[in-house]
């Protein structure tokens, strides 16, 4: 394009066989998209008509699709010469980009929070311009939230432990590290569940504070669920010897995802729990 080359063909010097993975035709994408549509329709039906059947069908078929999809990816990965080095690099790009988009998703929720945190007057003339809003008792950041912070930080180290073990082909420590990480993830979720059920403010019709609090932490919690499930899959695969020190992209992706979830939590802890706490702190 830069002025030196003048015909299409003269640019080509020869050819080499390609190294990419061209997958076979599959019904899964169509079914997956249709299940997502069912989930969306299901949420609408649930909200408007208290009809949960569509939602249940949608979620089940979405989960089933994911199961078969990823199972076939795992099988392809096990087949020789399919997941070449360059294909695996492509998958890394994919995961990194996916996480980037997730970061932007969180940006929108943090933006909502900061919109009120930094500019409490945006709550409107009917409210006193203070944050947290008058009448809101917040959660003590140094109770469960701090504990959960420690849990997640610890889990970040245990996954690294597992990773090193994997690189050294030490299956025992790999499985152990993963199992501990999964347990820590579950611990975190239990803590979060306790906190939610005992929270001093209500989600439903509770006004702006619970809204921004629950969406940010809840969306994070959802990511912990997904991350934990991802780690459990890795744990099973580790026990089945499906990872090698050379080829273990599934594990790496899970680890990246887990670290991302971890970092988001730190921001939540500092910005929402700590800086957003009210003067009088409840237990």
């Amino acid at each position: 394009m830069s002025g030196t080359v003048h015909t299409a063909k003269s640019q080509i010097r020869g050819t080499v066989p390609h190294q990419y993975h061209l997958v076979d035709p599959s019904f899964l994408p169509l079914i997956g998209a249709a299940s997502a549509m069912l989930v969306a329709a299901g949420i609408i039906f649930a909200a408007h008509f208290s009809n949960y059947i569509v939602l249940i069908i949608g979620v089940l078929s979405a989960v089933t699709t994911m199961f078969f999809w990823w199972t076939s990816v795992v099988h392809e990965g096990a087949a020789p010469g399919v997941h070449t080095t360059i294909t695996r690099i492509g998958m890394r790009y994919g995961m990194a980009l996916f996480i980037t988009s997730e970061v932007m998703f969180f940006v929108s929720f943090f933006w909502a929070y900061f919109n009120y945190f930094f500019f409490p007057s945006h709550m409107g003339v009917a409210y006193k311009a203070v944050w947290p809003p008058q009448g809101i008792t917040t959660i003590d950041p140094f109770a469960i939230p701090l504990f959960n912070t420690m849990v997640l930080l610890l889990s970040g180290t245990t996954i690294t432990w597992a990773h090193h073990a994997l690189l050294e082909n030490d299956k025992k420590n790999l499985v152990l590290g993963l199992a501990v990480t999964v347990l820590l993830g579950i611990t975190f979720l239990c803590g979060q569940g306790y906190e939610y059920t005992h929270s001093p403010f209500l989600f439903y019709h509770g006004g702006i504070f619970p809204s921004v609090f629950f969406i940010a932490t809840g969306f994070h919690g959802f990511h912990v669920v997904v991350g934990t499930a991802f780690l459990i899959v890795c744990l099973v695969r580790a026990m089945k010897n499906q990872f090698s020190p050379q080829q273990h992209f599934g594990f790496e992706a899970a680890a990246w995802y887990w670290h991302f979830v971890d970092v988001v939590w730190l921001f939540l802890f500092v910005c929402i729990y700590y800086f957003g706490r009210s003067a009088i702190v409840a237990g």
């Binding site: 830069s2 002025g3 003048h6 945006h122 709550m123 409107g124 003339v125 009917a126 809003p133 009448g135 809101i136 008792t137 001093p200 403010f201 209500l202 019709h205 509770g206 006004g207 504070f209 619970p210």
Partner: protein, 290 residues
């Protein structure tokens, strides 16, 4: 700086062809949209006069930019078509022109931005008004609350098409126009009782959203006594196109007389005001669960 010559003559022609509609107010000075209008409304306020002036400035510059690009394209089309120019050149770089076409647009933009910033500041200066009118948008009418006049708070509905009186303008005339003194600075405190509305007065150069729970400020000063029109300019539901704004400016003495009359007359027109809080239940719930 307005497109005076050809615009006016074209407008005159068109007016001749279509008759002279809407100028039924025998003595009133009315600024309403005119058929085949091609430019801003006649300025009813100094703010609109400035906008008009600056708009002409910017639009002429932009017309210059477009014209320049059009000329270049025309030249290229005529001069370098395959018939006239058989052998294409291979030039792909020329630092001088590349720098020029980066720097010159930047300079043009500076020329535009500077006066523009002054205009923004001017438009935002609602301080020290003669009086404040609190404007509340409702689905689908306006409410005018004269903050400095006790008990003067009334609603303003569009006259439906089948109730129009001679002289009234379809889709613009209202039952109770906002009445203000001419020549005085009026501050608007704009808000809404339900969804977003747009408080839009093209001939005065005023436009702000009416946002529930918030107050947005703007101001105007009507130079001459007369009638001015505006519209709701933010989608607000089924009757979005049926909540126009009519403002009448009166000389101060007539305005004062109107206030007296209006206070009596509108006493029971004071709206059954929906509070700005849309779902008060939310707040109570929030507090109940403390």
């Amino acid at each position: 700086m307005r497109f005076s010559g050809w615009r006016v003559s074209l407008g005159a022609l068109v007016l001749l062809a279509f008759g002279m509609p809407h100028l039924a107010f025998a003595d009133g000075y009315v600024i309403a949209p005119k058929p085949w209008e091609m430019w801003l409304p006649q300025p009813g306020s100094p703010m609109e006069a400035r906008i008009d002036h600056f708009m002409a400035f910017v639009l002429w510059i932009m017309a210059g930019v477009v014209g320049f690009v059009a000329l270049l394209l025309a030249y290229v089309i005529v001069r370098f078509n395959a018939k006239r120019n058989k052998v294409p050149s291979t030039v792909t770089h020329n630092v001088v022109v590349e720098v020029l076409w980066t720097v010159i647009p930047a300079v043009i933009l500076l020329v535009v931005a500077w006066p523009s910033i002054n205009l923004i500041r001017y438009e935002a200066d609602y301080q020290k008004p003669y009086m404040i009118v609190k404007v509340t948008g409702h689905q689908w009418y306006w409410e005018y609350d004269y903050k400095s006049v006790k008990g003067l708070d009334f609603t303003s509905y569009m006259i439906p098409d089948d109730k129009l009186q001679p002289g009234q303008i379809r889709r613009l005339s209202v039952d109770h126009p906002m009445v203000v003194p001419a020549g005085e600075k009026i501050e608007f405190e704009i808000t809404s009782a339900d969804v977003l509305h747009g408080f839009y007065l093209p001939s005065l150069g005023v436009q702000r959203y009416a946002i529930p729970g918030q107050i947005v400020h703007s101001w105007t000063l009507l130079t001459k006594p007369g009638t001015y029109y505006g519209e709701c300019n933010q989608i607000c539901g089924i009757n979005h196109d049926a909540m126009p704004i009519e403002i009448q400016a009166l000389p101060m003495d007539q305005y004062q007389a109107w206030v007296k009359k209006a206070q009596a007359e509108y006493a029971d027109n004071t709206p059954n005001r929906t509070p700005a809080v849309v779902r008060p239940a939310l707040v109570q719930l929030a507090q109940a669960t403390r």
